[in-house]
């Protein structure tokens, strides 16, 4: 018994069932219909799919291009010019489709493609963790209230008062021998879950008092069943929107941490690492600076566009808490 997530089509005060030719009645179908009409969402989704494909197919793509991400190619750089790539545009050639990195001559295309893997892996994993932790804790706090809520809320307050970036940097520089990717995912998750938990808690609080939940309780339905069948389905819209909008932040955070030297460590390729390396050369080899920045920009842009469109489609009344 889920309430429709959306109100009837704007201006159509009459019942939706009456109109045979108008928009479909189910809330999800309605949302999808609305989403498909927003060009921005389609563009965003296309970009995301593109990058996900690239990340997944990284080994295949590098097999085709013939150059691995760690392969050093000293012939492609000019030692007399301080290691600058030979040729224009950062050394673009049939051998190296997007040019090479200065000094070591590593193939930019290969590194971008594998860097996509890392960036998306970290962001998606962290997003998944955040969602699970945040939803569980948020629902628990909102539904059960009382002391449970007090404890969890306190916990959230403390976590949110941490200067997260600073702490993340410090933590990452402390731990030397742990797998960087796992550590990054862990650290990012630990500091980001309170935000979604807070939103979920708020929604759960208001849902808890809805009539159909009271009705279910009056029938003697157990808590677990209520949570699964009444409350959780109504939260999926919020969760989806939140996750989509959180991913750009996570990607950016990973890139920033790597840029500062505490994230992914070389030789693992990462966009943040490439940008960090490229700063020295940005005047003389701008392509090396532009390419990973552009990739980062596009992915962040795509998720933001999609997230915005999803929010408009799933939550047109715009409860932005």
């Amino acid at each position: 018994m889920t309430t429709p997530l959306t109100s009837a089509p704007a201006g159509g005060a009459g019942a939706a069932e009456d109109t045979a030719t108008a928009a479909p009645a189910s809330p999800w179908a309605l949302a999808l219909h609305r989403l498909r009409r927003q060009k921005a969402a389609v563009v965003g989704l296309a970009i995301i799919v593109f990058f996900v494909l690239i990340a997944v197919l990284a080994p295949v793509l590098t097999a085709i291009s013939g150059k691995g991400p760690d392969q050093i190619d000293k012939k492609a750089v000019d030692p007399y010019l301080g290691g600058l790539p030979r040729g224009s545009l950062g050394g673009i050639s049939p051998d190296h489709w997007l040019g090479v990195e200065p000094l070591l001559g590593r193939d930019v295309f290969a590194r971008l493609v594998y860097g996509a893997q890392i960036s998306l892996l970290v962001a998606f994993s962290a997003a998944l963790l955040i969602t699970v932790i945040g939803t569980v804790l948020g629902i628990t706090a909102g539904y059960f209230g009382g002391r449970v809520d007090a404890v969890i809320s306190r916990f959230m307050d403390v976590m949110m008062s941490f200067p997260s970036l600073i702490f993340m940097i410090a933590l990452l520089s402390v731990a030397r021998n742990v797998n960087r990717v796992v550590l990054l995912i862990g650290v990012l998750s630990v500091f980001s879950w309170p935000y979604i938990a807070r939103v979920i808690r708020g929604q759960t609080l208001s849902l808890r008092h809805r009539e159909y939940v009271e009705a279910a309780r009056a029938c003697g339905t157990g808590n677990r069943r209520i949570l699964l069948t009444e409350i959780l389905p109504n939260l999926t819209g919020t969760i989806i929107v939140y996750v989509t909008l959180a991913i750009p932040g996570l990607i950016g955070a990973e890139a920033a941490l790597t840029f500062l030297g505490v994230g992914i460590r070389p030789p693992t390729p990462s966009w943040g690492q490439m940008i960090s390396d490229s700063v020295l050369y940005y005047k003389v080899d701008p392509m090396f600076f532009i390419l990973p920045s552009a990739c980062l920009f596009l992915v962040v842009l795509a998720f933001t566009l999609l997230g915005d469109a999803l929010r408009d489609a799933l939550d047109p009344k715009g409860s932005r808490t």
Binding site: A40, D157, V158, M160, S161, F162, P163, S164, L165, I166, F167, I169, A170, L171, S173, V174, R176, P248, G252, A255, A256, F259, L260, V262, I275, V279, Y282, K283, F289, S293, L296, F297, V300, L301, T304, L305, D308, G318, R320
Partner: protein
């Protein structure tokens, strides 16, 4: 009201204590050895062990933590004998590498960070609010759509990218401004501005984009509220309807967001300060990380937490002041 304030301050203190404890515990695990740092490079292993004992580094974690917290208020004396150093209230530890109390180091750098943060805040508020309100009032027009697409784009730009591009365009190619260095306001206001414009813009752009979108959404929502229609029904001129009845509630979420952002700005400015080599607290943090100067790292973490927690309190107070309905709590 007093009760509310007292309770919030108490909660603040508890939160800070917890954060302090957690930070302390984390840094306890740092591989660097403060005793070695204190003693210097040419110390023998025995000597280092002696220093360790004097500094109380072999005591249990709890005891060390207790000493640290007490030291914040009462000051601390580290080591004994002729090499002892005295760190007065407020004592957040002593940086052996710089031979200065952490507090002094931080306070020296704070004005720079403050200049950066506040200047950027002014810039992003003006830009963000201006664009947001304009977009909201001209909702659906091509201006609105262009601006909103623009803000999404700008918000997606990584900070270092913006910094580099700006540096390249304005300094290298345009030659309009000198390469930024920090010049104190008291020395030369003109130069102070000229040198901070690029860092301000870099820091402000992303926030401006976010604020523009948030303001736009907020204004649109508020203008759809029934009380705005009542204001029109009263026969008020549209200017007053929008300005007085519409904008005030619309700006409330912006105000609260601003409070939180300012609180967290110490961390946010970190990258900008590093990029432009501005001698602020953020740069101090980055440098201390490289040198593994543990007391400084710890002190800055605490300072940043303090800002965040206090700004949350200020935001709540401001909110209660703006919205009469919030005063019930």
């Amino acid at each position: 009201m007093i009760g509310f304030l007292a309770r919030r301050l108490a909660a603040m203190a508890v939160t800070l204590l917890v954060i302090c404890a957690l930070t302390f515990a984390v840094f306890y695990l740092l591989p660097t050895d403060p005793a070695a740092q204190f003693c210097g490079k040419d110390c023998s292993a025995d000597r280092i062990e002696l220093v360790r004992q004097q500094l109380g580094l072999n005591d249990p974690l709890i005891v060390q933590f207790g000493r640290y917290v007490a030291g914040i208020f009462a000051g601390q004396t580290l080591g004994t004998g002729p090499y002892a150093v005295r760190c007065d209230f407020p004592c957040f530890g002593y940086s052996f590498q710089s031979a200065q109390p952490v507090w002094t180091l931080m306070m020296d750098r704070l004005p720079t960070s403050a200049s950066l943060a506040l200047g950027a805040a002014v810039l992003w508020l003006v830009l963000g609010l201006g664009v947001g309100v304009l977009s909201a009032l001209r909702r659906g027009s091509w201006l609105d759509r262009t601006l909103m697409v623009g803000t999404i784009g700008i918000a997606a730009l990584p900070v270092y990218f913006t910094a580099m591009i700006l540096l390249y365009l304005v300094v290298t190619v345009g030659g309009l401004l000198p390469y930024p260095r920090y010049i104190a306001f008291t020395e030369d206001p003109g130069s102070w501005i000229a040198n901070l414009i690029l860092p301000w813009t870099t820091l402000a752009l992303m926030y401006a984009a976010m604020y523009a979108r948030m303001t736009r959404n907020s204004v649109i929502e508020t203008m759809a509220e029934p009380y705005v229609r009542t204001a029109r029904a009263k026969g008020l001129p549209e200017r007053r309807v929008v300005g007085k009845h519409g904008l005030r509630p619309a700006l409330t979420p912006v105000a609260t967001m601003l409070g939180m952002d300012l609180g967290g700005l110490l961390a946010g400015a970190l990258i900008t300060e590093s990029l432009f080599s501005l001698p602020g607290v953020g740069k101090l943090f980055a440098d201390s990380l490289n040198k593994a100067d543990q007391p400084v790292i710890m002190g800055i973490t605490l300072l940043a937490s303090f800002f965040i927690v206090s700004s949350n309190l200020v935001v709540d107070l401001v909110y209660a002041w703006i919205d009469p309905r919030a005063r019930l709590a």
